[in-house]
Every structure is written in C-alpha cells, then in structure tokens.
C-alpha cells in the first residue's frame, strides 16, 4: 500500500520532524568509524601487498608485483577455485533449502510469522565455534549420525564425512542459511498472493508460476540472499579449518596461514585484495548483465 497516496499530509509532517536541517551530519559517525577501521587498514594492506616479507617476518618496504605473481601459482589457484566452488555449492544448497522455508513463513498468518523467524535466528544466540564443534560431534566416525545409521543397520561401517569438502559445505550451509532465508522472506512477503493465483489461473503449471512470476518478482531478495551467503562462504576460514581438516584449504585458511603462521604479511595482503577484487568483479558483471536485460522482450515479440 502506498502511504504517500493515502496521506500526503502525513508524509510532509514526518519529513519535517525526522529530517534535520543538515542531513549529511547523520552520516558522520559511520563515516568516521569506517574511515578509521576499514579504509585506513585497507590502504595499509594495499601498501603492504607491494612490499617484501622480511627475513624474520616483518615488512620490507619495496614496490613489487611479486606477491601478485605468486598468487597465480597453480597451488594457490587451486585453493581459489576450490573456494569458489564450495561457496557456490553452499549458496545453491542454501537457496534450495531456504526458498521453501521463506515462502512457507511469508504465507503464514502475520502473528505466526514472528515465531518462525525467531526459530530461524535462534542459532545465532550460541557461539559459532561451539556450534561448529557440535557438528564435529555429530559427523565424526563415532558420532551421532554414524552411530544411529549403524545401529539401524543401514550402513555396515562408519561414513567418513568429517574432514571432507562435504563436511565444509554442511558447516557453511548450517552457518549461513539464515542469511538466505531472511531476505527471501522479506521478498516473498511483499509478493501479493493474488499474482500467484493469477498466473495459476492463466494456465501456468506450478513450475511455470515459480519461473515466470515468483522468481522474477522476488529477485531482489534472491540476489541479496545469494550475495549474503556466497561472499562470507568464499572467505570462511573457521568452518573449513575445523571441519575440512588439513587436506582441504580454502582462501580464508590460506590468508590466515600467511598472516599468522608463515608471517608473510605482504603475500597475505595480496591474496586478500585479489579475493576482494574477484568479489567486486563478480558483482559488477552481475549488475551489468542485469541492467542490460531490464526490459526483456517476450519470446513472441522478438519475432
């Protein structure tokens, strides 16, 4: 419902009360915070990424691209590729699991939606590390899953799922699923049910209703959810560290390793910045493609 149409006067009064004479000042606290603790460190990282590692782990100030060339080493490229793949699989699984949940919650009566949203967010009340350890107890060889499956006679010997890429995806999906559900819920909640009925009435199968009406109209939520899951999954280091074991390293682990173990800050900075550039590039390509296809001609019109 458009508030402006309903009460034009009200809008004016809200404006007069809530917007200060110099609205720019509202940005100041956040700008100072971001400036001090985000842009300055980022600039430092950029500077360091062109430097050399000192013999004992310090930073030797030079201007060299050697760190960036190093990133192209097949060994590291493989880590990048694996990270992108695992993050993509995580995002896809979250989408498939999260969409039906979000749709279900958004179609509940308003007073029951709150309970469900609370249930979605409850895991956040417990420390992430503790929750990850809980998963280890569930998945390990003599853990809950294997014990139950063996006692039911479904499997003969324990499944070694812990310390594999599957375990990483399980951990990441578990951790980031709410970030998919919440924006999707907000998008579906705004979708009038009559549009779904209208499509159904106009001979669309359930699949066609989803593809032609629900997905296009909840796209902002879909995109937001995917970004919110993909980006932190790409940079995750705790889940792969604890659940992926020593064999499967993701970019997050590599960066952590360079900074804390190898004490090679310049190389660690370079990897971090490449990761960041990749993410921004991905977003830019998406926005470009999306912008170009803003008014898609329907099939029959193009002939």
């Amino acid at each position: 419902m458009n508030l402006e149409v309903l009460s034009p006067d009200r809008r004016v009064s809200v404006r007069a009360v809530l917007v200060p004479r110099r609205p720019g000042l509202l940005l100041l606290p956040a700008l100072v915070w971001l400036g001090l603790f985000f842009f300055v460190p980022l600039a430092l990282m950029l500077a360091i990424s062109f430097a050399w590692r000192g013999t004992y782990g310090g930073v030797e100030w030079t201007l060299s691209l050697a760190n960036y060339v190093n990133v192209l080493d097949p060994l590291y490229l493989k880590v990048f590729l694996r990270s992108v793949l695992l993050a993509a699989v995580t995002t896809a699984v979250c989408l498939v699991l999260g969409f039906p949940i979000a749709y279900y919650i958004a179609r509940l009566p308003a007073r029951r939606q709150g309970i469900w949203l609370l249930l979605v967010m409850i895991p956040f009340w417990t420390n992430f590390l503790v929750r990850t350890y809980a998963w280890i107890f569930i998945l390990r060889t003599e853990g809950l899953v294997n014990t139950v499956l063996i006692s039911l006679g479904l499997i003969g010997s324990p499944i070694d799922v812990l310390y594999t890429e599957t375990a990483i995806v399980i951990g990441l999906v578990y951790g980031y699923l709410p970030f998919m559900i919440l924006p999707l819920y907000a998008a579906v909640e705004r979708l009038p049910p009559s549009l779904v009925e209208a499509a159904w009435d106009l001979y669309a199968s359930r699949w066609a209703v989803l593809r032609r009406v629900i997905v296009p109209l909840t796209k902002p939520g879909l995109v937001a959810g995917c970004i919110l899951v993909f980006i932190p999954s790409l940079g995750a280091f705790m889940t792969p560290d604890l659940m992926g074991g020593a064999r499967t390293m993701m970019i997050g682990n590599l960066i952590q390793h360079e900074f804390l173990v190898a004490r090679d800050w310049p190389f660690g900075s370079a990897i971090s910045l490449v990761l960041m550039a990749l993410v921004l590039l991905g977003l830019a390509i998406y926005l470009r493609v999306e912008g170009a296809g803003k008014r898609p001609a329907t099939e029959w019109m193009s002939r």
């Binding site: 549009l195 209208a198 106009l202 669309a204 032609r212 029959w300």
Partner: protein
C-alpha cells in the same frame, strides 16, 4: 453441446466454523451475463473461487460445459478470473500480461501477436502495449485485466467485483462497456458484486445470496419488481415496507390491515399464493411507485393514505421525500424532477400517498 455453461449441484463449502456456501444449486446458461449479488460474507466470492479452482467444494459438484471439474486445478480449467485487485504482473508490459495465458498454452507466436492486438483493440488500449502496469491509470489497469482474461477465449469468464476500485463516472462507463464486450464475444460472464446497480445494469440474470444461501435467481426486472423476500427487496434498491394481517381475500386481490397504521386503514394488494384470511404478510413498495398529491384524488389508484412530509432531499434528477405515515411508520418517496411547474412539498406539509395495488409486492411471513 450442453445448454448449461456452469452448473452447481448442491454445493457446500465450510470455512472454519462458518458455512460459507450452503447447498447452492444453480444453472448458468451459455453466453449469459450472470451476476451473483450479496453483501460481504454471503459466500459469493467463495463460489467464484470454487469455479476458478482455487478452492474445492466440501460437498456437491460443479460442472463446466457439462463436465465435472472435481480435482481439476485452475491451470487446467477453461475459466479465467478478472481479479478484484487486477493482479497484473508488475514486471511484464501490458502486452506481456495479456499474452501470458497464451504463452502458457504454447499458442504459436504469430497467433499470440494477432490475438493480443485484437484484445488491445477490444479494450481500447491500442498504443499502450509497451507500458508497465504501474504506468497505467486504474481504469486502464482494469481493461488490461479484462483483456488478459478475454484473450484466452475461456468457456467462462469470472469477474470479482470488477468495477469496485473505479470512481463513480468510470464505473458507469465500464458497466456499459463490459456488457457490450460480453455481447460481442458471446462468452459466459459470471460477475460477483455487492453493488446492486452493477448487477442490475449488466446482467441477464441475477442471483442474490445471503449467509451462504441462494435467496432468489431471476432477471434484474424479476429481482427488482418481484422480490421473494424482504432481504432481497431491501438489498436491491430501496423499499418501503408495511407489516400486517390479511383481512379479506377476493380472488387475486386481498386487503391488508397494517399494524402500524390507524385501525380504519385497509390496504388493497395482490394476494400472495397460499395466503389465507388472518395470515401475517409484509407489503413491499418501491419509493418511485408512490405518488404524492396535496389533495384527495381518486383517479385509478387503489390506495390512498395521508402522510406528513418530514424531509425533502433534492438529488438532481429526483427529489427524495421522507414521510411519516404514523408515529411508528415512515416511508420514502422518489419524485422525478420533470419540470418547472412541478409542485414541491415542504417539511411539515400534509400530503396524500397513492399507489396501485399491483405495484406492491406482498410476501407471506
């Protein structure tokens, strides 16, 4: 081909604790403009949603073109609904919206283009095919919604309060236009509305519903002039009522002694079927069937009662008088404003009310 387009057989539907539709049986003929009229909560929208396939009856059966549609989902029914809120797809253009149903049924592209153009033409939206719904006025959105349904040439077109969101002038124009379009395409239209004027103007037949029950089905004229219950008489148009007991019966004529009138007053009326002397009855009389005069006149009218003018309301095309017939009985009269020499009555004035016996409808209690 079956003569009936839609048939409801003893259909019931329960919503929680309330019986939304209560054993409704109805036959709607092919090519008919049929209105289902009733106040909110009368079950008319539930019937529409069952015809569209969004809900299914708890009991009874629905036949479309002679075939039961039990278990057939909306996308497999040759029925299209024009939503009250229009429900246009905001991400598709006008043409994209209209083409949606044809695309879903995989109609060849060339035919889609031709039929969309034809539909745009019919609702007079040529040149607006590339607009998005948000760029259209309410009346234009309404036309797109209509075209989007019509273009599929369904066996039955359903309209849910089709003109509810339009302003008065546009509503009257669209009533005529909808009827014209319906006659041109020859499809069965079923329109649900709580607006009696809409139902009377557009439809060939009207069904009046209340609390899930079907009260009366008939032509607009039947419904208006021969209501079978007080509810129908009061819901369709305005009505004056008089309750009393039948005093004498003489063939088709009877006299009624009214409870709220002085003891001497007897009212002559048409005798309702099956009514005998002493049985209670209600007389309903339309405000425009009453005639007012300042003096006693006996020129072919069967009834004359004295009254006092309480209020005179000028409505433009007519003047509405509120009259007191006794302490407990007040009626209204509509007098068309036809000329300058016309007599105007002032509040407080004494007048005489006259009407013909067959202009009133008498219903046994």
């Amino acid at each position: 081909m079956a003569e009936s387009s839609v048939e409801l057989r003893d259909v019931s539907k329960r919503h929680g604790d309330t019986l939304a539709v209560d054993r409704v049986s109805l036959v709607i003929r092919r090519g008919e403009f049929f209105a289902i009229l009733g106040p909110s909560g009368s079950g008319k929208t539930t019937i529409l949603r069952m015809l569209a396939g969004f809900e299914s009856p708890d009991a009874g059966d629905i036949l479309i073109d002679g075939r039961s549609v039990r278990g057939v989902p909306p996308n497999r029914r040759s029925v299209n609904l024009v939503f009250q809120t229009y429900a246009l797809f905001p991400h598709l253009t006008v043409a994209g919206n209209i083409a949606f149903g044809l695309e879903m049924r995989r109609v060849p592209a060339a035919e889609i283009a031709a039929r969309v153009a034809e539909a745009l033409d019919m609702v007079r939206l040529q040149g607006k095919q590339d607009r998005l719904p948000a760029q259209l006025s309410g009346g234009e959105q309404q036309r797109v919604a209509l075209a989007r349904a019509l273009v599929n040439r369904p066996a039955v077109l359903l309209l849910d309060e089709p003109l509810g969101a339009l302003d008065q002038q546009l509503r009257m124009d669209m009533q005529v236009e909808l009827k014209t379009i319906q006659e041109r395409v020859g499809l069965t239209f079923i329109c649900v509305t709580h607006h009696q004027e809409e139902a009377l103007t557009m439809s060939d037949r009207v069904a009046v519903m209340r609390q899930g029950r079907l009260l009366q089905v008939g032509s607009p004229r039947d419904i208006y002039e021969a209501p079978q219950s007080a509810f129908v008489a009061n819901f369709i148009g305005r009505s004056n009522s008089l309750t009393g007991r039948i005093e004498t019966v003489n063939g088709l004529r009877c006299t009624l002694r009214a409870a709220d009138l002085p003891a001497a007053a007897l009212v002559a009326a048409t005798c309702p079927a099956g009514a005998g002397i002493g049985s209670p009855a209600t007389l309903m009389l339309r405000p425009e069937r009453l005639h007012l005069s300042a003096d006693v006149q006996v020129d072919g009218y069967d009834n004359m009662l004295p009254a006092r003018v309480c209020k005179a309301i000028y409505n433009g095309s007519e003047t509405q008088y509120l009259l007191a017939l006794s302490d407990r009985l007040s009626w209204q009269v509509l007098v068309p404003n036809v000329g300058n020499g016309q007599k105007r009555f002032q509040p407080g004035e004494s007048v005489f009310l006259r009407w013909r016996a067959d202009d009133a409808v008498v219903m046994p209690e």
